[in-house]
């Protein structure tokens, strides 16, 4: 299984840049996800790897072989499309067999392989049907099967789950994980659903307008977002972002208008620390799940007034007015409160994120931001 390396890859349509200076390596056998909003260029990256579109500049390597100018056939990649792209006039059997037929395998081998893949995916009963007769989930499996049967060097998956309904999506996610554990093929996966990205991947790259904002493990991206965009994009419900001012006296603290938040002296950020800075405008990020809602205010907690409560089964999302800010916090599933009722809130100080108000980049609160080597 090769690793896939991008070296300063750029893609432009006419004058419009779609991918900017992409340099990353997908490791041998890794499940790597590109996640980002629509139009950020993630599907284009897949097309470039597959050879369906040419790069404007830069090189793509499989191991040490430059594949930048090879045709799709010569690259030995398989792709699962969002629309599945099943051949509508062929049976499931013929759809699965097509890649092998094109490579002129014998009928005996074809039959054997088709049955093997069908058994792996649990679709033996569908072999004689046509795509129009299948459900969405079944079609998705046939599309997967067609990709698997060739045992390609690289799997490319373009939002393969987005056409499935919510329950099926979650179930298929775990099946994909199991398949990957078994087949260990280098996989490049693309989605706009951050929850999917977090649950499936070994490593994630968050993309915006053609460039990578941050790359790392799901936990890293979630716990230490590199900028406000990543912080907002990852995590559900969305992170609360509040404007404030960072100062030292000499311990770091943030002025949020109505309240002063002390920041713990030892940040868990993996960035190197540096000398103290003068006070500056910042954006404070705190995730709803890091805010605890108490039914009544205690002497040590802060307080806020309720705007609304949305129950969601095992938990509730409370919209609260906290000083001049409107924030959302997670509460217990049976939490109930009337509008304008006062409740207590407690913030996990260690989980507070601080971003530069101008650039949006993450600040370690006792020094300038220095990029981590190797990311």
């Amino acid at each position: 299984m090769p690793h896939v390396r991008f070296d300063r890859v750029e893609k432009r349509y006419g004058d419009k840049p779609v991918i900017r200076d992409l340099t990353l390596t997908v490791r041998d056998g890794e499940f790597f996800t590109l996640v980002g909003p629509s139009g950020c260029g993630k599907s284009t990256v897949l097309n470039l790897v597959a050879g369906l579109e040419p790069v404007t500049s830069g090189e793509i390597y499989f191991d040490d072989r430059a594949v930048t100018h090879l045709s799709p056939k010569g690259r030995d990649v398989a792709m699962v499309f969002q629309s599945y792209a099943l051949y509508p006039h062929k049976t499931v059997f013929e759809n699965l067999a097509f890649p092998l037929r094109v490579r002129k395998r014998t009928q005996a081998i074809i039959t054997h392989e088709v049955r093997r893949v069908a058994a792996l995916l649990g679709i033996e009963g569908l072999l004689v049907k046509e795509p129009a007769e299948l459900s969405g989930g079944e079609r998705q499996r046939v599309a997967l099967g067609r990709a698997i049967i060739r045992e390609p060097a690289v799997f490319l998956m373009d939002e393969p789950l987005s056409n499935l309904d919510a329950h099926l999506r979650v179930r298929t996610r775990s099946e994909l994980k199991r398949l990957h554990a078994r087949l260990k093929t280098t996989t490049l996966y693309v989605t706009h659903d951050q929850e999917e990205a977090l649950s499936l991947s070994e490593r994630i790259a968050v993309m915006k307008e053609g460039s990578i904002q941050q790359m790392g493990s799901p936990l890293e991206i979630y716990r230490f977002p590199a900028n406000t965009f990543v912080a907002e994009f990852v995590g559900s419900p969305q992170i609360n972002l509040l404007s404030g001012r960072l100062s030292w006296d000499p311990a770091p603290y943030v002025e949020l208008g109505h309240v002063r938040l002390a920041l713990p002296p030892v940040p868990e950020s993996p960035v190197t620390v540096g000398p103290q800075r003068p006070p500056c405008n910042v954006i404070v990020g705190i995730r709803p799940e890091d805010i605890r809602v108490l039914a009544t205010a205690s002497p040590t907690s802060d307080f806020a007034s309720v705007i609304s409560v949305e129950p969601a089964g095992g938990r509730s999302v409370a919209s609260l007015r906290w000083g001049p800010h409107e924030i959302r916090a997670l509460a217990a599933g049976d939490f109930q409160a009337a509008p304008d009722q006062t409740v207590g809130i407690e913030l996990e100080a260690a989980r507070i994120h601080v971003f530069d108000a101008c650039t949006g980049r993450r600040l370690p609160w006792d020094g300038p931001l220095t990029p981590r080597a190797g990311s």
Binding site: L52, P72, S83, A85, P88, K90, V102, R146, R150
Partner: protein, 298 residues
Amino acid sequence: MRDQSETRTGYALLLPALGVLALLALYPILALCWLSLRHRILPFGIDEFAGLDHYAVLLQTPRFWNSLGVTLYFVGVSVALEAALGLCIALLLARNFPGAGWARALIILPWAIPTVVTAKMWEWIYHPDFGVLNYLLQATGLVSAPVNWLGTPSLAIHAAIVADVWKTTPFVVILLLAGLAMIPPDLYRASALDGASPWATFRHVTLPLLRPILLVVVLFRMIDALRAFDLLYVLTGGGPADTTETLAIYTYKILFQTLQFGYGSAIGVVMFLVVTLVSLLHFWVGRADFRRLAGRAP
């Protein structure tokens, strides 16, 4: 909310159009069948019952069988050429290259020109002495003496076929372009990734998905070609030696040159039956595709 007013309004609105059609299209068909059973020669005022006499005569007239043969030959060769050529041109024009819009607009022109103008144009091109075709052939050394395209029995029908193919291929191209546009692009990508050559992609992706509309186009063209009149009337008038006399021309001559409206109508009825037969055959061959087109499961 389906009240009576909708149904009443509906029938009222349909009436004018259906009335016109019934009067001027359906009634003549019935009149045709009626006429075919009578001896009717207009200027002499003859009008008497003839039963199936005309049909009997028809079946024994060599000229009738000749016209039937010419018609089927003309239709078969023309439509086959138009379908093949039209498919190639459509594949060519389906890509989005600079100027594609203009090319697609210009290709419509031969189809839109009046058929008689087409006929006159080609008649001039085929002219044995002053025609540009003979000039080009002689100048390039392909032939040594001027060819009488429209006057030689074995050549005339083929000259007519070329003119017909020139005129009607654009129609095929337009419809096939629309059909090609409906094929999801992901299928081409999947095929490329699966490693299929362009020819294999054409056979396994393009052609099967194009088949329904190809059948529709071929059906339309066959029906049109079966009743072709304008082109042949002007180009050859049915000659030389009746080698280009199709059923339509034969019918016209009988009707308006010999004024035998009874006999002429009988030929007309036969024409009508041939068209209907071809249509039914067509529907049967493509029944799965037509059912899919109508929105029902095949």
